[in-house]
């Protein structure tokens, strides 16, 4: 990795600053976010369900593009199974804090944690 010029170092410093900035934005957001109370299910941008996070339940969501099985258990929500191509939603870690999301792009589905009102 020898022979880096001054402008290379400058460019790397800019990259590091961008990284630090995004991490800071994340932690500032996290600090203001608390445990959510509701799980809201959006299909194609519209609210389909809103379920309390404290209930233990399993929801079969028919999105029109496919089916996702949402599980709410011990104050956390996750997708147990889905017939989407990417399986990104199934691989997502359980969510519980306000603003956290699970997204299934092929099914145009967003599971989002929201605060009570």
């Amino acid at each position: 990795m020898k022979k880096l010029k001054f402008r290379d170092y400058l460019a790397i410093i800019i990259l590091i600053l961008i990284s630090i900035f995004t991490v800071m934005v994340y932690f500032v957001k996290l600090q203001y976010s608390t445990r959510g109370e509701y799980v809201t299910v959006y299909v194609d941008g519209k609210i389909r369900y809103s379920v309390s996070l404290s209930t233990n339940t399993t929801l079969e969501i028919d999105t029109g593009n496919g089916i996702n099985t949402l599980v709410i258990k011990d104050g956390e929500a996750y997708i147990e199974s889905a017939d989407c191509s990417s399986q990104d939603c199934v691989n997502h870690v359980p969510i519980s804090r306000v603003g956290e999301q699970i997204i299934c792009i092929p099914h145009k589905l967003i599971i989002m944690i929201e605060e009570g009102n």
């Binding site: 990795m1 020898k2 022979k3 880096l4 010029k5 402008r7 290379d8 460019a11 790397i12 990259l15 961008i18 990284s19 995004t22 991490v23 934005v25 994340y26 957001k29 959006y42 941008g45 191509s85 990417s86 399986q87 990104d88 939603c89 691989n91 997502h92 870690v93 603003g99 956290e100 999301q101 997204i103 299934c104 792009i105 092929p106 145009k108 967003i110 989002m112």
Partner: protein, 192 residues
């Protein structure tokens, strides 16, 4: 290996075809090993190895050719419209970023690759934002930016390794090589 042959029209076509195939294989491998824990649709951008190679074996124009060919074939073979949008936007963003880094800022290949990786992911994030208007960007930004930069770093190191091993770099003579013949000391003709 005869370097001159690869600089003829037919040699160049053969090399660019091989690089396109390489980028397709890498794209396919990426789709098999889904690294996503939190972010849907995010890909590493390993196909950038082929684009970077085209750039440093020949020039920016050839990098554009490989990118466009890759996009065309991905369109044909990977049907999903959303993953396609991600792939195209990521590829174009990273291509433009890398060309700017090489041509205007004359940066080291590793740094070029890191910016390529970063912009690849930022492009994908913009697509996510357009498709899913309620996506919480702040949750995905750190992983996307840092992930992109680290992937770019890995891609850059792999590319340097391949170029050194095959001694294929700079066939078009676009880059001035200093007497150490070190890839990292490349400078473009107009810059210094």
């Amino acid at each position: 290996m005869n370097r001159e042959i690869l600089n003829t029209n037919s040699g160049k076509i053969a090399m660019l075809a091989m690089l396109t195939v390489l980028s397709l294989i890498l794209t396919y491998l990426e789709s098999v090993f889904s690294l996503t824990v939190t972010i849907p649709g995010v890909k590493l951008g390993l196909a950038n190895i082929a684009v970077l190679m085209a750039m440093y074996i020949y020039d920016a124009r050839e990098a554009v050719v490989v990118t466009i060919c890759k996009i065309l074939f991905v369109t044909i073979f990977f049907g999903n419209m959303y993953s396609l949008l991600y792939a195209i936007t990521g590829a174009l963003f990273s291509l433009v970023a890398m060309i700017l880094c090489v041509k205007i800022f004359d940066l080291n290949i590793i740094v070029v690759s890191m910016y390529g990786g970063l912009l690849h992911n930022i492009g994908q994030l913009i697509v996510a934002r357009l498709i899913l208007s309620s996506i919480a960007l702040s949750y995905y930004l750190p992983v996307m930016t840092i992930g992109g930069i680290i992937c770019g770093l890995i891609v850059g190191i792999i590319t340097i390794f391949i170029l050194k091993l095959t001694k294929l770099y700079n066939l078009s003579g676009v880059y001035n090589i200093t007497k150490t013949k070190d890839l990292q000391t490349y400078t473009t003709k107009d810059g210094n």
